[in-house]
Symmetry: C2
Subunit: 274 residues, 2 copies
């Protein structure tokens, strides 16, 4: 475990760390914010999964979570969105390959050796945060592709995650161009496998044990073709899933939108993680 | 005036704008945050001057000012740190030329035609904000090289600016390597001219009409050789200048430091601008 940077922020410590990942077979970088006061017992932690083209850095420097995390006594972890480097495969497209892992374990070559982001986020990272940093209960959130990751991973691993929210998530990758392209490449054409990584399918099949908080901007240019929030509203309604899905008038897909609502999300997580 | 981007943020609007600058003879880009409620009369505005290597973007996406600016009804403007582009001179060094304007009007070739950031920030931008955006009373703050810019420009233009603060400012460019290199290139060897852009010299000569708020991290790697906060403390003490100079234990030079204390600075400005 290598510490790449360390800065005091709102009385806590914002670190960037790198470690050799067994899941991906590459080095993986993530950021970790630890709040100033350690309360009684292990510090609860929210993992923020970023979207297409992002690294650990985007949410770390743009989401403005540190102030509220410090107040609530939450740690916040921002992983990278895929394996990186010359040893991992890539594609020239922004929406496939490095920066676009889609939080699945790829089954298709050349992706299957390194692109194992489901296992990384669902298993390796939680164990690392518990064993190396003594962190406690975990919440999961994310943005866009990372919102898809948060919804699907938490629903499939309710024993690992205690709270769930998403910003502008891709709610049904089976039913949008980004998702179909990525799933075809990473998972092949087995639609049953696709459904295991589709939040709308999973909320019908598995559901989530708590309330899901989703914020979605109405001025988001990806809303209609890619994100399709209405499909998730419908799936939650049909499945009887508790969800607060808030259409935020005039907000777009940027981190300015995330920064505006991150406080609500962290409070949602803190309430469940206590 | 061209609008490059526009996002809702905390109920206000975060814009990036570009205009042809008479001062620099180039296009200049700046960001403008306008808060959700326009109170009675023109909206007061704080201008944030960034440091070496930065553009308008750094503080806009990293400082996290929008939440407090929205609450206080303040506009916030982040200009670029120099003229840019192929028509302006440059240097391969990170601390000279584009990204390193040092908020002076250069007198020396090749810089003297475009590098007129003093006039840009002290005159052209305030007139633009008043005439094109209807903004009201102005405060000035900044970070590092931009903290130098804020201190020196405000003290020389008390009729234009009503409030003043700085994050980790270069307090005496005449007495540090960054400043000596930049002033030699931009201003030549006339030390009397240098003193007109040196906050320690100006606080003795002119002073500032209000209280100056300065935050400086004790773990800032540039503190000892470049920033030299103690020189400003001494100058303020000798000149009887009201100043709150706060040494913040353990904080470094990053935007994590700025984000931690931006709320205090905006409240300092809002109190004076009302």
């Amino acid at each position: 475990m290598e510490t790449l940077s360390e800065s005091l922020c709102f009385g806590g410590v914002q670190r960037v760390l790198r470690h050799a990942s067994a899941a991906t077979g590459t080095d993986m970088t993530f950021s970790l914010y630890t709040p100033p006061r350690a309360g009684a017992g292990p510090t609860p932690c929210v993992i923020f999964l970023a979207g297409l083209t992002c690294t650990h850095e985007n949410a770390t420097v743009k989401a403005g979570f540190q102030r509220v995390a410090a107040e609530l006594g939450l740690a916040v972890v921002c992983p990278d969105t895929s394996p990186r480097g010359e040893d991992a495969p890539d594609s020239p497209a922004y929406d496939l390959g490095q920066g676009a892992g889609f939080y699945v374990d790829a089954t298709q070559p050349p992706w299957d050796r390194n692109f194992r982001m489901f296992t990384y986020v669902a298993e390796e990272l939680p164990a690392l945060l518990r064993d190396s940093f003594g962190l406690g209960a975990l919440g999961l959130t994310g943005h866009s592709m990372g919102g898809h990751g948060a919804l699907t991973i938490a629903m499939r691993r309710p024993e690992t995650f205690e709270s769930l929210s998403a910003f502008a998530p891709i709610v049904s990758p089976m039913n949008c161009p980004w998702g179909r392209k990525a799933f075809s490449a990473y998972l092949g054409e087995d639609r049953a496998l696709w459904a295991r990584h589709d939040a709308c399918a999973l909320v019908r099949e598995l559901g989530w044990k708590g309330e899901i908080l989703v914020d979605q901007g109405t001025a988001d240019p990806f809303l209609e073709d890619q994100l399709k929030t209405a499909l998730f509203e419908q799936a939650c309604a049909e499945a009887g899933q508790r969800a607060r899905i808030r259409m935020q008038a005039g907000y777009d897909h940027s981190y300015f939108f995330i920064a505006t609502f991150i406080e609500d999300h962290l409070r949602h997580h803190a309430a469940a993680l206590r």
